[in-house]
């Protein structure tokens, strides 16, 4: 359904090019729940914004394509893009607190997304807005509330309702629960799962919280410094992480059960993306680095079982 | 740090043109005796002459050379602008910073006073105060403008103080055991500097326009040479009805351009300290 091919996107700073997303290819199929995990600054939000066509100056898509149902989103003009947005692909943003217009009733904000795309009567749109609120466990008479009258969790539910308003086939969720407390986060994640079962749509779920992702998503892509370094099914990735970065991330969150292991996370910090890097981008922080890693860039290779990894440890042609 | 504050300023076209304008006026004010072609208070030619080679800006009803008067007027106008701007900024700082820093009852009282002065119209108040003053001159004008010019600055500084005071690095300094004076002057103040300077620029604009207005109304000392008094004499001698447009054009332009110079500086300070505002 969504095919990202060799996408290069980033930011044009005073003569410098910061490659936030570098040659990324990714597919989201129908009914997929794809998780995209990575640390801050790894380019995951840039990727999401590129898909939505929301990348603003100095941000820029340099090359590659984003095909949605066969049409290239990067080549659309403004009007076509406007029509595709929200109707086919919608998005739930990170900061629920600031995602709603503070001076408009939430009902009006849901309704205007419907009216921007469909020729329906206003009353009908309001009926729909009420239905949507009910769907996300908010009392329908809240249509007349203003954002400041809602709690953080309710605001994010409103955003989800809004994202559902036109029955899109793909919803991008960019850290939808990061700003929320654990209990609220859990409730919302469960609700998302239930609604997805009911309505059937694909999700691209972006987060830095790998422990959460392993639990909820079908498939996970790990992003590091602008590149995808590993893709696999969640269970497979959890039990058998191949890339040293994935492995490091997996042992970076303390657990609630089992013996207490002391671990040191991943030392160092991600590389400066405004400088060209020849070899592997994880080289500086890698505990298993080899000589070749510094010189040559590893590409994603298929390890079977739908498991792809970009690391010289698993490449046969090491000595080439 | 010094560099990271000042460097963007040199790259800012608006800021640089503002600086250029102000510098130009300052230079003119300093070297007024050397570049002024005539004594500004002497009758040097036939009254009400249009601009010519001999008198670039023409002459007034007493046959005084207007170019010389404008040049000498720069001194007083600029001085009043800067001194008054400084005075109001100091008032604003004392009131705004103490309200923001101490909070509580002190804040409530100071804020209420500020709000009251904020909505009471400034120029009419200036006129009323100036009208009561028995002696006319530059000092009363400075005082009157400074009295009415501080509230908007105080309000801005207070709100910035409030937000900075609650920043974690200030709490950190407090927990580390720093004294209040250290926290205000070493931790908080460096971050307020740009706003204080911006505040000075707007206060200076206010002062320059206020001074011109009061003098135009004859509420200053009409016998000294300033841009405002040139306009006063022009108006009182019906300059326009006699077609002597040159009499009003130059001093007014000078006020506007000087004001714009400060406005440009102010605008660029805003852009630098708040990168969001940078248009391009």
């Amino acid at each position: 359904m969504l095919q990202i091919k060799d996408l290069v996107a980033g930011y044009e700073m005073r003569k410098k090019w910061v490659a936030a997303v570098d040659h990324v290819s990714l597919n989201v199929k129908k009914d997929d729940f794809l998780g995209l995990a990575g640390e801050s600054g790894c380019g995951k939000s840039t990727l999401a914004f590129s898909i939505m066509g929301l990348l603003k100056k100095p941000g820029k898509i340099k090359s590659g394509s984003i095909l949605f149902k066969g049409k290239d989103l990067t080549k659309m003009n403004n009007e076509e893009l406007r029509n595709t947005r929200w109707k086919d692909i919608s998005m739930v943003f990170q900061s629920a607190m600031n995602s709603l217009n503070p001076v408009m009733r939430i009902g009006d904000q849901i309704v205007d997304s419907i009216l921007a795309h469909k020729m329906v009567k206003k009353e009908k749109a309001y009926e729909r807005a009420k239905e949507l609120l009910k769907l996300v466990n908010i009392s329908p008479d809240r249509v007349n509330s203003y954002p400041h009258q809602l709690s953080g969790g309710m605001k994010q539910r409103v955003m989800i309702a809004m994202a559902l308003s036109l029955k899109p086939s793909l919803i991008i969720m960019d850290e939808p629960t990061t700003a929320l407390d654990v209990v609220v986060q859990r409730m919302i994640i469960e609700e998302i799962g239930e609604i997805r079962e009911k309505l059937g749509f694909s999700i691209l779920f972006i987060t830095h919280d790998l422990s959460l992702l392993v639990e909820i998503s079908k498939k996970i892509a790990i992003m590091y410094a602008g590149e995808i370094v590993e893709i696999a099914n969640s269970q497979e990735l959890y039990s058998n992480p191949l890339h040293p970065y994935t492995y490091g991330l997996m042992s970076s969150f303390p657990t609630l059960v089992g013996p207490l292991k002391r671990s040191d996370g991943i030392p160092g910090r991600p590389p400066d993306l405004s400088q060209p890097i020849e070899g592997c981008r994880f080289y500086d922080r890698c505990s298993k680095r080899m000589d070749i890693c510094r010189k040559r860039h590893p590409n994603l290779i298929d390890m079977g079982n739908n498991h792809m990894v970009a690391c010289w440890l698993y490449s046969g042609d090491k000595n080439e | 740090m010094k560099n990271s504050y000042i460097a963007p300023f040199f790259g800012n076209k608006k800021g640089m043109s503002g600086l250029l304008i102000i510098t130009l006026f300052v230079v003119v004010a300093v070297i007024a005796p050397y570049i002024s072609p005539f004594n500004p208070n002497e009758m040097v030619d036939i009254p009400l002459q249009a601009p010519s080679f001999a008198h670039w800006l023409g002459t007034n009803h007493l046959g005084q050379d207007l170019l010389s008067r404008v040049i000498w007027g720069t001194r007083t106008s600029l001085m009043v602008g800067i001194v008054t701007g400084l005075l109001s900024t100091i008032f604003s700082m004392i009131i705004g910073l103490s309200a923001g820093y101490f909070g509580g009852v002190i804040d409530e009282i100071l804020t209420t006073i500020t709000n009251i002065f904020l909505v009471i119209p400034g120029l009419p108040l200036m006129i009323v105060i100036a009208a009561y003053l028995k002696f006319r001159g530059v000092t009363p004008i400075i005082i009157v403008i400074a009295i009415t010019g501080w509230p908007s600055g105080a309000r801005l500084l207070r709100s910035q103080m409030l937000s900075l005071r609650n920043r974690e690095f200030v709490t950190a300094a407090r927990i580390l055991g720093e004294k209040s004076t250290h926290m205000i002057f070493s931790e908080i103040f460096p971050l307020m500097l740009s706003l204080v300077v911006a505040n000075f620029f707007s206060a200076a604009i206010y002062a320059i326009l206020g001074e011109a207005a009061l003098e135009f109304l004859g509420l200053g000392d009409v016998n000294i040479v300033t841009w405002g008094t040139i306009l006063y004499w022009a108006q009182n001698n019906q300059a326009l009805l006699t077609g002597a447009w040159w009499w009003i054009l130059a001093p007014g332009l000078c006020i506007s351009v000087l004001g714009a110079g400060f406005a440009l500086l102010n605008f660029s300070m805003d852009e630098i300290s708040n990168p969001k505002l940078r248009g391009r």
Partner: protein, 334 residues
């Protein structure tokens, strides 16, 4: 072992000003009592609005509590302290902040930020001496080469590096107690553990005690000896870390545990369902604050505030554990 820090019935109510009159209060912290031993790491776990940060700030003397007493080393910490006494107190109790971006002054280099503790507490004025002391402390928190970091401004450092500068600043004072207010929550996952490990190392090497504030139950398990669970301004449960997490007594602790992400259990985990939201802290009713959301709520729960019942080395604020109810206790083994 001696209690180094002790809180007795401490409450913090913030007034809401309307027309200058104080009519309503936010009960950010109500009747909080606990103690902390020398060299112990005690975690304060709770969601936002639970009062955990307020507790830390009351201990740090940023806020003056509405009522109750704080004791440090057996001495009462009075509300108004003489300057020299306060300085002595500050030297014992330091703090690490949640947001490494805002807890360092953006206009100052690391070198000048770190010089303050030495000027204030070691009476150093010789710049060479200070520089050497700064190098030593940077070494301890793992920022090497030290001279490289001394010349940096905060905005030139990563979040983790900034947090290390914050830790360096706190330990330069050589405190006995560090209040760590969610020190890892704004950092990248991959470096959280190494910050926690640094804190653990300092505890072992310097016998520093910590009050470690977090919303992450698993993180609390990783670092702490004992855990306090707070909800809506009150302590709900206190107990040794491992025991409390494996066998949570209070229904709220049970909820917290079930809500935490756990890839080990994965999809087969029991669903939470809709469990309501945190109540308003403005003039709350006299009742168990968790009762509106509690699956085990009894009539009594909405009428009075349960006391902290002692069960072995644990304490729990729930009527389920009143003597007469003890037989009916249901443990949630999720």
């Amino acid at each position: 072992m001696n209690d180094f820090l002790k809180l007795e019935g401490v409450s913090m109510h913030f007034p809401i000003r309307k027309f200058g009159k104080r009519t309503r209060y936010v009960h950010a912290m109500d009747d909080v009592s606990f103690s902390l031993k020398k060299g112990e790491i005690l975690s304060l776990v709770g969601e936002s609005g639970s009062g955990k940060t307020t507790t830390a700030r009351v201990i740090a003397k940023v806020y003056t509590p509405t009522s109750g007493n704080v004791f440090v080393n057996g001495n009462l910490v009075s509300k108004k302290m003489h300057t020299s006494k306060l300085k002595e107190y500050r030297q014992r109790v330091q703090m690490i902040f949640q947001d490494p971006f805002s807890s360092l002054n953006p206009t100052k280099r690391v070198r000048s930020i770190l010089s303050r503790p030495f000027v204030l507490y070691k009476s150093m004025s010789n710049s060479k001496e200070i520089r050497q002391a700064e190098r030593d402390v940077l070494e301890v928190v793992g920022l090497t080469p030290t001279d490289f970091y001394l010349d940096k401004f905060p905005h030139e450092l990563s979040g983790g590096q900034r947090q290390r500068v914050g830790i360096a600043r706190a330990i330069s004072v050589e405190p006995d107690l560090i209040l760590a207010d969610e020190p890892t929550s704004m950092l990248d996952v991959s470096i959280r553990l190494s910050i926690m490990n640094t804190l653990l190392k300092l505890k072992e090497e310097r016998n520093i005690s910590y009050l470690y504030i977090t919303h992450d139950l698993a993180g609390a398990r990783y670092v702490s000896d004992r855990i306090i669970v707070m909800y809506a301004g009150m302590i709900m449960e206190i107990g040794p870390a491992e025991e409390l997490i494996q066998h949570p007594l209070h229904p709220y602790t049970q909820l917290l545990k079930r809500a935490a992400p756990s890839p080990e259990t994965g999809f087969n985990k029991k669903k939470l369902g809709y469990v309501g939201e945190v109540p308003s802290l403005i003039s709350p009713p006299k009742a168990c604050r968790f009762s509106p959301r509690c699956p085990f709520a009894m009539e009594k729960c909405s009428k009075e505030i349960p006391p902290l019942y002692e069960i072995g080395d644990r304490k729990v604020r729930c009527f389920l554990y009143e003597k007469s109810n003890q037989e009916n206790v249901r443990f949630d083994e999720s």
